[in-house]
């Protein structure tokens, strides 16, 4: 009894000083179950291809392409949903409508300009913040600094939109404050303008810029910056020559996320816009939402938007992202 106790204690003591290594992996990969299933699969080239490509391709084809394919089908029909007693036939007319009338063309252009501007503003505003958290804040404080940035996003899109309304409305916080101080006697109309829409949109989507930027900047080795400073590079030169090129990956993905989200934006952020800010998604949604509903036209327009937005993103990535440089 006594002796077994001491050995147990000994073991406990020595265990504490010995770091724990994962010895289970060997047990798993040497087990017959693993060897005859996954293990065997990765042995052969075909097995590896299936393992690597199988699930992703099925998912992409079924759930990314599938619904879009549905839309494509609908967009080529003259009527949908098909009413009893009505014939639906194949037509390209729904696409032709888009090119025929500037009424629909203009919102698309507007959408692109708007999304581009929103992306640029978000990038400029968020970059210093991401840089500050990733490089200036000490590592111990980093997760807390990041957390502080994340918290507001848990309130939900609608609530955040209404928060912006409460800030900018004629009887919102800013106007009330200005009136109390005596700077103004009539409220400044800030809400329902392009300003409030931009303000709110950046407010809603800056996270999509922040996280990619943060993870890219955080990766830049700090000694590199010190080395540059040592060589006499001023802050601006250091930024332009070292930080900016090295965080390019983050800029590209952040901009893509924000741009694509902005292009497809509808509903909530629209609550902040004025009467002149009509964007393409709203036009599309009109076809689905309007009293005379025209799914085929809406579907066709959605596809037009999809293709142009993806093409724009691809061009952007090609321009900024450059070639993929992968060490072989």
């Amino acid at each position: 009894m006594v002796s077994s106790n001491t050995t147990a204690q000994d073991r406990a003591r020595s265990d504490a000083s010995v770091p724990r290594y994962s010895t289970r992996i060997a047990t798993v990969i040497n087990s017959a179950l693993y060897r005859h299933t996954l293990g065997a699969a990765v042995e052969s080239r075909i097995g590896r291809v299936i393992l690597l490509a199988g699930v992703p391709l099925i998912w992409l084809i079924m759930l990314h392409v599938g619904p879009i394919y549905q839309m494509l089908k609908i967009s080529l029909l003259s009527h949908y949903p098909v009413q009893p007693g009505m014939e639906s036939h194949f037509t390209l007319d729904n696409y032709a409508i888009f090119f025929r009338e500037s009424l629909y063309f203009t919102p698309l252009i507007k959408s692109f300009i708007f999304a581009t501007a929103a992306t640029a503003v978000t990038l400029i505003v968020v970059y210093p913040v991401a840089y500050y958290v990733a490089k200036v804040v000490k590592p111990q404080g980093r997760s807390r600094a990041l957390l502080l940035l994340l918290v507001p996003f848990w309130a939900g899109e609608l609530i955040r939109t209404f928060s912006v309304i409460m800030l900018l409305a004629n009887r919102g916080a800013v106007n009330v404050l200005l009136r109390e101080v005596g700077l103004i006697d009539r409220p400044i109309p800030m809400l329902y303008t392009s300003f409030s829409l931009g303000f709110g949109l950046v407010y809603l989507i800056c996270l999509y810029m922040l996280l990619p930027l943060y993870s890219a900047i955080e990766k830049i080795p700090s000694p590199l910056l010190d080395a540059a400073a040592d060589l006499g590079a001023g802050p601006f030169t250091r930024f332009r020559r070292i930080i900016l090129p090295l965080s390019r990956d983050g800029i590209v993905s952040g901009c893509c996320l924000v741009f694509l989200t902005c292009i497809g934006v509808f509903a909530t952020p629209m609550l902040l816009g004025g009467p002149t800010t009509v964007l393409f998604p709203e036009t599309i949604s009109g076809f689905f939402h309007g009293a005379s509903d025209k799914w085929p036209v809406g579907a066709a327009f959605a596809l037009i938007m999809l293709v142009t937005a993806l093409a724009a993103a691809a061009i952007f990535m090609r321009l900024v992202g450059g070639r993929k440089k992968r060490a072989i």
């Binding site: 010995v18 290594y21 010895t23 990969i29």
Partner: protein, 361 residues
């Protein structure tokens, strides 16, 4: 004794580009073998084929007599030290080293013992819990080495592991590498384009050029008796004297060079009368003096350039027609060579003839 590694007629080509051509090579156990050559000569490809990362287009690779040509890297008992170390950034030093052991199914205690032992070997015990990003270049290099040694491979492959270090550290690591190799008795297969590294550490050097083995041998042989112009040029500094054979005398050959008659060792070659050959003459074999040497090959020249190199001075001597000879002079002698006109001389046995392969290329 059976060789550890055998390349048997191995070819590797990418599309139309031939990277390795008819490679036949046997490596004995416990040796430090270096594949030496300029970039693109096929040395790294050969190493990666042995590691299992590339598959030969044809031919076989044998490890301990077993054909491993189609065996994936994880099933071969060889390990690589990568050029940029490829340490796992999210694992501590100890965990990096333990990685291969974990996969071998050792128990915790055994892994711990082995890791400590290896860390001790390179005096990194205190760094066990650090992340690779917290180490210096030399330390990372040692960790990479230990990680590759940990699973006790049959052959340790080193892919230009010193190229990322600064000059001083590199020299230090050369010595350390050699001593680790001797302590562990492992077979090391080292790839480099740096002839100095190769000469310092290797038991055997395999010089490669354009996918083929140019010459193979111990450092002395390669340096003293290079088999080709390429080898002579690639290893060390050298003077190549293009000469014509006048006659043979035992091991020695008499040749005509630059208007004078010189003698050189045949070096296993069988020269024919009238044939054009190169005489390899190492700078340090040349003796410079004001007075004409009493014996041996000698020629008058003018000093064109002096380069001070610390422990010696390099003199470029014009021996007529603008032909320059590169010579090395000890500091003790340089004081005597104040004027421009000097004599250069060398003993016949320090020079070797090699065939004039340029004619064929």
């Amino acid at each position: 004794m059976e060789p550890v590694v055998q390349f048997d007629n191995v070819n590797k080509s990418y599309g139309g580009y031939v990277a390795v051509e008819n490679l036949n090579l046997s490596i004995e156990a416990g040796k430090f073998v270096t594949l030496l050559g300029p970039s693109g000569c096929g040395k790294s490809t050969s190493l990666r084929m042995l590691g299992g990362f590339e598959r030969p287009t044809s031919g076989r690779i044998l490890l301990n007599g077993k054909d491993v040509t189609r065996v994936p890297p994880n099933k071969r008992n060889v390990n690589i030290v990568f050029q940029d170390y490829a340490l796992f950034p999210h694992m501590t030093v100890a965990k990096n080293i333990a990685f291969g052991l974990e996969l071998k199914g050792f128990d915790n205690q055994k892994i711990h013992r082995r890791v400590s032992e290896l860390l001790e070997l390179v005096q990194l015990e205190e760094y066990a819990r650090r992340l690779p990003s917290e180490l210096s270049g030399g330390q990372r290099q040692r960790v990479a080495l230990m990680r590759a040694l940990a699973p006790d491979p049959d052959v340790l492959l080193l892919d230009e592991p010193l190229s990322a270090l600064d000059a001083k550290l590199r020299q230090q690591m050369q010595i350390e590498l050699k001593s680790i190799q001797e302590k562990t008795g492992k077979t090391f297969m080292f790839v480099t384009h740096d002839q100095e590294e190769a000469l310092t550490m290797s038991d055997t050097i395999v010089v490669m050029n354009k996918g083929r083995i140019e010459q193979m041998g111990d450092p002395d042989t390669l340096y003293g008796r290079p088999g080709s112009v390429f080898v002579a040029n690639f290893i060390g500094e050298t003077n190549l004297l293009r000469s014509t054979v006048l006659g043979m005398d035992g091991d020695m050959t008499t040749l005509s060079w630059n208007g004078i008659t010189i003698t050189a060792s045949q070096g296993g070659l069988a020269p024919k009368l009238g044939e054009h050959l190169y005489v390899v003459l190492r700078p340090e074999a040349i003796h410079c003096s004001v007075a004409e040497p009493a014996s041996g090959n000698r020629i008058k020249g003018k000093i064109r350039q002096r380069v001070f190199k610390g422990n010696h001075t390099s003199l470029m001597v014009d021996v007529g027609d603008g032909t320059l000879l590169n010579t090395l002079v000890h500091p003790s002698e340089i004081a005597h060579l104040s004027g421009e006109n000097i004599w250069v001389g060398w003993k016949p046995e320090t020079a070797t003839v090699i065939p004039d392969r340029h004619a064929h290329n």
